[in-house]
Every structure is written in structure tokens, then in C-alpha cells.
Amino acid sequence: MQIPYTVTARPDTGVYNAKLGVWLFLASEVMLFGALFSSYILLRVGAPTWPHGYELLNVPLATFNTVVLITSSITMVMSWASLMVKDFRKYRIYMGSTFLLGLVFLIVKAFEYGAKFGLGIYPAENTFYAIYFTLTGLHGLHVVGGMIVNAYFWGPGSKMWHTDPVRFTNRVEVAGLYWHFVDLVWIFLFPSLYLL
């Protein structure tokens, strides 16, 4: 028997299953990163001395990455908007660029990490680097996850557009919610690690 409200919204709650699902998932993500931020604060407050992020980390690169991620956010939302107006071609373009921007972000990150490793600096160096690598690393994994999803909806997954457009649009919206969250995390990560 069919599971109700997979596509259409349930009248009294006003949402369809996947949407509620992803918001709940994001709630748990908030607690996950929350715990790491909390650890960051606790360690920093407890430390006798703590370096300023901009003394040790590459702010210009990170700023560039911020721009990249924000841009990827808008291309993501545009891809969804295009589907709303049934413009599949535009969707393909926007979704594609979202994926590519994600890739750019990762490459830049790779350079950042590489530079540090080159200097023989690893997470074990001190608690600052430990939390820096952990937070950015975990965020990076989230980017990768998002990119896999986006790639799927750009390529094979997009067949569904022709069979069940409404459902496909929902899926893209949900993927978008996740992607924006990843962006949102970075928006907090960037100042707290690099600028303070």
C-alpha cells in the first residue's frame, strides 16, 4: 500500500514527509556542530593563551571559499526555482554549477590543508589546530556528501523529472535545504576559526 504524503503536503501539518525529515535531520546536525563549537569555546576559554585565527590561517583563501560557498547556495536555490517554472535546461546549468562550486571549495581546502601539512603541522600540533582540522574536516565531509547528492540529481536522478516532476522538484528542494545548511555552518565557522 502507498505511503501517504510522500509528494503532496499533509493538509493539517502543511509539509510533505521528506521536508519534515530533512529539517529534523538538520536539527540533529545543529546539535552535532553545536557540540564542536561548544568544545571550541570551552577549550579556548580554558587555555592560558590562544592564537588569533588570522595569525595562523590563510584568511584570503578562506574568504574566497566563503564567496564560493555562498555563490553555490544561490545557484542551488536557482536550480530549484527553475524547476518551479518547469525550465529543466536552466536547472541542469544551475545544479551543475552548484556541484562545480562545491568542487572548487574542496580544492581550495585541499591547498589550505596541504600548506599546513607541508609545514609539518598536523591536528596533534595543539588544541587550536585540533579543533580547526576537526571542524573544517567534518564540514568538508558534509560538502562531499552534498556534492554526491547534487551530482545524482544532476545526472541519473534527474530522469524522474520526466516521470514525476513534482516529486523531483521536492527532492531538489530537500537537497537544497541540506546544501544551504552546509553553507550556513561555514558562515559561522569562518569567523570563529579564521577571524577571531
Binding site: 501539518t13 502543511g14 509539509v15 519534515l20 529539517w23 529534523l24 536539527a27 545543529v30 546539535m31 553545536g34 557540540a35 563549537f37 561548544s38 569555546i41 570551552l42 576559554v45 580554558g46 588569533h52 588570522y54 584568511v59 574568504t63 566563503t66 564567496v67 555562498i70 555563490t71 547556495s73 544561490i74 542551488m76 536555490v77 536557482m78 526555482a81 518551479m84 517554472v85 518547469k86 525550465d87 537544497g176 535545504l177 544551504h180 545548511f181 553553507d183 550556513l184 558562515i187 559561522f188 569562518f190 569567523p191 570563529s192 579564521y194 577571524l195 577571531l196
Partner: protein
């Protein structure tokens, strides 16, 4: 595609662009401020305010929270409360230790 959709599609896109510009601007600001090397508390306050604004922009417009259902609000409100507890209570116990 029919008229009405194109209309509000255009409207949507305009808001998205606006938000995008705002985000860029704020990014520039926050980085710029960091070069002033303000005293740490001031710096934290500024950085968090800016990040907060940027965050809420993304959430409200890109994630459409502005026009979201109550159900979602409640879930997030609950999460936020516990998030605060997770931030503040450990700090509180660290700052209230037995001393002599």
C-alpha cells in the same frame, strides 16, 4: 510556462539576488573588521552579530523559513533551546569551580 508563474519567479529571483549581494557585502565587512584587531570581546560580538545576520538571511530566504510551517518553527525553536544549553551550561560549570 504561464504568466503568473513567470511573475513570481522573477520576484523570487530578485529577492535571491538581493540576499546574495547582502551576504557578499557582509562577508567583506566581517573580514575588514577582523583587520582592525579589535579587543577580543568586541571582535567576538561584531563577528557573531554579522554571522548571525548572514545565517538568518540564508535560513529565511534560501531555506524559505520566512514562509515555513509552524511545525518546522517549533522543531527549530526546541533545537535552539537545547543548543543554547549545550553552549552555556558547560561554560557555566567551568566558570564556577571550587576555589580557595
Amino acid at each position: 510556462m504561464d504568466q503568473t508563474q513567470t511573475i513570481d519567479f522573477k520576484k523570487h529571483v530578485r529577492t535571491y539576488i538581493a540576499v546574495f549581494v547582502a551576504l557578499m557585502a557582509l562577508t567583506v565587512v566581517t573580514v575588514a573588521v577582523s583587520y582592525l584587531h579589535l579587543p577580543i570581546t568586541a571582535a567576538v560580538v561584531v563577528a557573531l552579530i554579522i554571522a548571525g545576520v548572514k545565517g538568518s538571511l540564508v535560513a529565511s530566504y534560501f531555506m524559505h523559513l520566512i514562509s515555513e510551517r509552524k511545525l518546522i518553527y517549533w522543531t527549530l525553536a526546541l533545537t535552539f533551546i537545547f543548543f543554547l544549553a549545550l553552549m552555556l551550561l558547560p561554560l557555566g560549570s567551568e566558570s564556577d569551580k571550587i576555589v580557595n
